[in-house]
Amino acid sequence: MKQLLKLKVNGDDHEVYVDPRRSLAEVLRNDLGLTGTKESCLSGYCGACTVLIDGKAVKSCLIFACQAQGKDILTIEGLAKDGQLHPLQQAFIDHFAVQCGFCTSGMILSAKALLDENPNPSEEEVRNGLIGNICRCTGYRKIVEAVLAAATDKNQAYH
């Protein structure tokens, strides 16, 4: 039996009728049309489904959508402001940290949560912080470079 859910995503309020079994990832993608969040392993292993809930990185495939009510959810679609890419997104482009792009949404959001908490991480801290996000293409080096570059980007206030 479907249930009414009130979800706040990227600052907007949504009301959707969903089966209580649906994960947050499924609802974001299928009911709200926000397909930037990816579904891959469905086991909480790969991190492609990573979104931020109240600023904290979580795996949306492992969370029942019902449990995400009353929280601030941020997906990859919510990062750019007025057509301007977030410094992390720009850094990923500038440092060639995107190949197929499938891990990228989750990777950037994990990186954002990491930098919000620790604005000046060491390389090791970046690598440890991204343990929950798998990339099959890049070998991670460019991703780590991009995150470190975004952290030290002096031209834009990092927020």
Binding site: Q3, P20, R21, S23, L42, G44, I53, L114
Partner: protein, 287 residues
């Protein structure tokens, strides 16, 4: 996943009533990091999920005289980043850092992990080595008992069908104590192939007076390696500790599976326990 209904109790009391009413037709869900995959694979098919993730009355860390109390809904990440726990129980922080990933730790709870009772779970061995107790509550009252007696089998606990694990109590380690949580896994955050939790207390700053070793990732609930503990008493940094390793290997009960053979896992136990003992002694000396 079979159809189910979400029930949203607003208090612990309501949760207990709901559980008492529905018993085996219901499953409690906290973070659901382990429960959701289980439901998707239809290993369980409850009619109701009683959502206790929002019960803030169970989300706390209390610094009390002589002991720490943590609510069951406290997330792994809260424990990992608590300055108080970092000071008093660095071994717990070490354990949390090896558990899954930041994302899992942000949403998953300590109570959920313990109630799931996966023999490969990280929290139980660490908390058993620290002498933790758990409190469980139902409409019939509450009980408290050592965590060591809580896990009774593969994914089985001492919880009755109407009981909720609500709190974990951990006594502060004695002075001159040190610990280590070591986990061998293929990839950071993976399930452990072999895990060892060690807590030791020194006589003065030199000799092991007391040792606790708990072996995880066994085919059984975590194993207190009591023979290895006895062998460790009297050891100093730099002493030969092969006897401790041999004792632990005799007490271990690993199973051959996709992660490795029994022989490989027993070898890991020996290596890990020697490293854990040396680390624990060094850390105790540094206090």
């Amino acid at each position: 996943m079979k159809p189910l209904e979400f029930l949203e109790p607003r208090t612990l009391e309501e949760a207990c009533s709901l559980l008492s009413e529905h018993k085996e037709d219901a499953k409690l869900i906290a973070g659901g990091q382990t429960l959701r995959p289980i439901l998707r694979h239809r290993l369980l098919a409850p009619k109701y999920l009683i959502n206790i993730k929002g019960l803030s009355e169970l989300d706390y860390i209390k610094e009390l005289p002589g002991e720490l109390k943590s609510g069951a809904i406290t997330t792994h990440r809260t424990i990992e980043t608590s300055p108080f726990i970092g000071r008093k129980f660095p071994m717990l922080v070490e354990m949390e850092r090896s558990l899954g990933s930041v994302q899992i730790r942000n949403w998953g709870t300590i109570g959920g992990s313990l109630a799931h009772a996966d023999p490969s779970g990280d929290p139980a061995p660490a908390l058993i080595a620290l002498g933790a107790k758990v409190k469980v509550v139902s409409t019939r009252g509450e009980r408290e008992f050592p965590l060591e007696n809580f896990m009774t089998g593969y994914l089985e606990t001492a919880l009755e069908a109407d009981e909720i694990l609500t709190e974990i109590t951990v006594p502060y380690p004695a002075p001159n104590s040190g610990g280590a949580y070591l986990k061998e896994a293929i990839k950071a955050g993976d399930i452990g192939i072999a895990t060892v939790a060690a807590m030791i207390t020194l006589n003065g700053k030199q000799q092991v007076k007391e040792a606790k070793f708990v072996l995880g990732a066994q085919s059984t609930p975590p194993i207190r390696a009591t023979q290895a503990e006895r062998a460790a008493v009297g050891k100093r940094a730099g002493d030969n500790i092969e006897d401790v390793a041999e004792a632990a290997a005799k007490e271990a009960r690993p199973q051959t599976d996709i992660l490795g053979s029994v022989e490989y896992k027993l070898e890991l136990v020996k290596v890990l326990i020697k490293r854990a003992l040396s680390l624990a002694i060094a850390r105790a000396q540094a206090t």
